[in-house]
């Protein structure tokens, strides 16, 4: 099994965005990073993706140091970034196309994902015909098609309206769980962090360090929308909130 370790330090130019951050993500964990805006959460994530190099320190995934774009991670952003000139089907295959992995097996897997998550009938449509929530799901499938172990979500739901956001985050949660993926997400939305993740890392103001590492355990078979009504959820929410306020 995979064993993802991550230790990381950085200094961006004159402003020290992140002072010293080290943490380990176990395979299958869902982890959220929350923190005040401008504390370098997104930069942290793009370091894991290999898009940015940390000033010092290193990211290690599956025992290998990340020094460039790597095949273990899938990266999702706030915008769905679907290409309007491609059909849903060929949008989904974009990642495989770039990685030159358009094998029959991989295509079958992408098609299977489209079918499983209710987008098969839209495979010949263009992105402009889909709603924001559906587009974000297509974007997720595009990321999953290259079979990454670790999913990186950078404010992936924040462009959606509230209702869509709840639905999509629930979908993404169950998709990632059933595909047995590991997830590292950055968000400024505490409810989202608490309801979706097993662990919430709270970053401090710049220069950032980990202010708290809060475990959110709701037991097996959780529903990210339903848990929002439980007492436990409020307890976790308060803890995260207090840590952020400090």
């Amino acid at each position: 099994m995979e064993n993802i370790k991550l230790s990381y330090q950085t200094m961006t130019g004159e402003t020290q965005a992140i002072k010293d951050i080290s943490f380990t993500v176990e395979a299958g964990d869902f982890i959220a990073i929350v923190g005040p805006s401008g504390c370098g959460k997104s930069t942290l994530l793009s370091c894991v993706a290999g898009l940015t190099q940390p000033t010092s320190g290193q990211v290690i995934i599956n025992g290998k140091k990340v020094d460039s774009i790597n095949r273990y991670t899938g990266y999702m952003m706030q915008t769905d970034n679907l290409l309007p000139w491609r059909t849903i089907y060929s949008n989904v295959l974009l990642g495989l196309e770039i990685q030159k992995k358009l094998t029959e097996e991989n295509i079958a897997y992408a098609e299977h994902l489209l079918q499983k998550y209710g987008l098969w009938s839209f495979r010949d449509s263009y992105p402009s015909a889909l709603s924001g929530g559906m587009r974000q799901r297509v974007s997720l499938i595009r990321t999953l098609a290259v079979k990454p172990d670790l999913l990186l979500l950078d404010e992936a739901f924040s462009a959606l309206d509230y209702q869509t956001r709840l639905n999509v985050s629930r979908d993404v949660y169950s998709i990632l769980r059933s595909e047995k993926k590991t997830m590292l997400m950055v968000t400024h939305d505490i409810p989202e962090a608490v309801s979706l993740c097993d662990r919430v890392l709270v970053l401090s103001q710049r220069p950032a360090v980990i202010a708290a590492d809060i475990r959110c355990d709701f037991g097996p078979g959780r529903d990210p929308v339903a848990v929002r009504n439980t007492q436990l959820y409020h307890t976790y929410f308060d803890r995260v909130w207090k840590e952020m306020a400090e």
Binding site: Y75, M77, N81, L83, W85, L94, I98, P127, V146
Partner: protein, 267 residues
């Protein structure tokens, strides 16, 4: 304006009506202008020897159409299209190279600005010496005028490509070539057509300027020749023909643009 809720048929009717109105007013303005011009010329309010008149232009048109007018038109159109194509193709390749090398792009920036503001027509005599007095010089002139604008516009477009899309393909491991082919190029099709719309006009300007300096055929040549022998009817007729040609070529590019943008965006 009042906002009213229309039924589908009312709505379509309204749009159609507006379209017809715009077109009728446009035609009316044209007719009035021509009629006014003709009347003023006939009544002696303006000297028709100098400003010509619609009827005189039609007469010279019919007379020239029997002679070699078509050849002149073809020369000008062909030179313009060749200059335009060369300008767009070369501009595209230079802009692409500048996208691949940010360093080169930064180095070239001030030179491009200077070249862009420089009146290229001033290079006319030099161009004639370089490429000889003939169609070569004329086409070079057209390219000189349209190339820099294309490079600047396309290069700006390439560099303004949505960075989120680029990050997305990079996260899949795409290199520069793949990013360019899969993202930058399709994203900039509208920019390409935008610059082509500007370019087709500029190429015509270049060709006419070139024909003024050296040529044995073409509308620019005809204008210079007619001016020298004081055939103002011929000058005015040629100018109006140029207007028509410019309009037709622009419309063609604009039509292609609409199709391409539709293919890209699927809205």
């Amino acid at each position: 304006m009042k906002n009213t809720v229309f039924s589908r048929s009312e709505y379509l009717e309204k749009i159609k009506k507006e379209k017809i109105m715009v077109r009728s007013v446009q035609i009316a303005i044209l007719v009035l202008l021509l009629a006014g011009w003709e009347i003023a010329a006939q009544a002696g309010m303006v000297d028709s020897f100098i400003v010509s008149s619609p009827v005189r232009m039609i007469k010279i048109f019919i007379q020239m159409a029997g002679a070699d007018l078509v050849t002149h038109i073809l020369y000008t159109v062909a030179e313009t299209l060749i200059g335009f194509t060369l300008g767009v193709v070369m501009g595209f390749f230079i802009a692409t190279a500048l996208w691949f090398s940010r360093f080169a792009s930064k180095v070239c920036a001030p030179f491009l600005v200077v070249l862009n503001s420089l009146p290229k027509i001033a290079l006319g005599p030099v161009i004639i010496v370089w490429s000889g007095a003939g169609a070569g010089a004329i086409i070079t002139m057209a390219v000189a005028i349209s190339l820099i604008v294309t490079v600047m516009e396309l290069s700006h477009g390439f560099y303004s490509t949505d960075s989120n899309l680029l990050t997305m393909v990079e996260s899949f491991g795409a290199g520069k070539t793949e990013s360019f082919c899969k993202i930058v190029l399709p994203c900039n099709i509208p920019v390409l057509f935008q610059s082509m719309k500007v370019n087709i006009g500029l190429s015509l300007v270049g060709v006419i300027a070139g024909e003024f300096l050296v040529s044995e055929a073409g509308l620019g040549y005809l204008i210079v020749y007619a001016g020298q022998v004081f055939k103002m009817d011929l000058v005015m007729m040629s100018v109006i023909l140029l207007g028509f040609i410019a309009f037709i070529m622009y419309s063609a590019v604009s039509r292609m643009e609409k199709i391409a943008v539709k293919l890209i965006n699927h809205i």
